[in-house]
Point group: C2
DNA sequence: TTATAATGTGAATGTATATTCACATCGGAG
DNA sequence: CTCCGATGTGAATATACATTCACATTATAA
């Protein structure tokens, strides 16, 4: 593919992207050094010029997704200030990520491949926690502003919203892409909004 | 552990249970023939007297979980006829399964290990679909009876309920068991019930 | 241009693990 | 009791990978 030698920073990016592509198309089963190297256009052993180990690649991919998720939140916060609008945009943005990074469900839902290092799960946990806190902040803001019912636990509301989105991912994943995520997300959001709105 | 020779049916059960135990405690990473054999108290090669391959064991475990899930639905349907009560009991029962079979999240969320055969995912999909249909039937029944708002798509409602429960599983899993699932389930159900009730 | 550090290559190594096989042993049907 | 099929065992085999290594090649700075 990419002939010639390249700077290690570029290669690291290419490798992480290749990893995502493989996971998306072949699942975790196909996620191997050889496959990655193939996709990047170099030989397996060359991978080790840029990553110390396969684990490091996984970490890199996780970081990539985490940043993408957090990025979504900050992005929608800049688009609008209205809490309900923020949540709505966040939902559709999160769903949209499925198409941009189809590997997400497989990664999120495969604790299996991530139990290598003991702190891998901690890291994942921390990422999710941070993400949830941000959602919760939006909800709290909405409750303070009076547009979201205040008689409900903001943490529960944030978890349910996340659960709803992840359910879409699960359905999309197990159905092999046949599940209409957008339609579901739209209806689910309507229900959720109606339930939390004052 | 279990000395002496045993009937293959008993062994198959023991092996499936051992597999669940291992997955729960050590994750998919520890899920190997040797570990299973150890737990059952026989030698690795003896496993093959009862299962043709590791894949067949995975299938067996999946069946076990599927039956357990479906069993939950039929069980609560016998306990009560009221749709809302049925759903409530189903939620708490599903949450309760986390303690009975702690391996569930790891299995549900690790498509990664299950992509061996191409029809593995189809099977999983079919199980989830069947389960969802049953939830949906309860909701439809409630809508017909007038206790659940009829202006909402029953499929979306069933998916959201499932998503809510699965979010509890995810949090429980990534937090290493520190997340208080019961408290969350209680509040989430209250919210959901309030939103769907007429 | 040339020296050197970074990157790429092909072969070799090591390891983990599923699976097979020849043989041993048990348990129940006759 | 005594066979015989089913179950269990230990060693051997196969394979799939990650990782290492010695060497080749390229880019770049001087």
């Amino acid at each position: 593919m990419a002939a010639g030698k390249m700077d290690t920073e570029v290669r690291r990016e290419q490798i992480a992207q290749a990893a995502l592509g493989i996971i998306a198309t072949q699942g975790m089963k196909g996620f191997g050094i050889a496959a990655i190297a193939d996709r990047v256009g170099i030989v397996p052993s060359a991978i080790y010029r840029h990553f110390k180990s396969k684990d490091e690649i996984i970490d890199s991919v996780l970081d990539l997704i985490r940043d993408s998720m957090i990025g979504n939140v900050t992005a929608i916060c800049e688009e609008t200030a209205d809490p309900l609008e923020r949540l709505e945009k966040l939902v559709s943005r999160q769903i949209g990520m499925l198409h941009a990074i189809p590997a997400i469900p497989q990664i999120i839902f495969s604790g299996g491949s991530f139990e290598g290092m003991s702190d891998r799960k901690d890291k994942l946990h921390e990422s999710i926690r941070r993400y949830l806190v941000k959602i919760r902040e939006i909800i709290l803001q909405g409750q303070k502003a009076g547009v979201i019912r205040a008689d409900m636990d903001s943490e529960v509301l944030s978890l349910m919203l996340m659960g709803t989105v992840q359910q879409a991912m699960i359905m999309w994943f197990v159905s092999g892409g046949n599940f209409d995520v957008n339609k579901y997300a739209k209806k689910a959001w309507a229900f959720y909004k109606n339930a939390i709105a004052n």
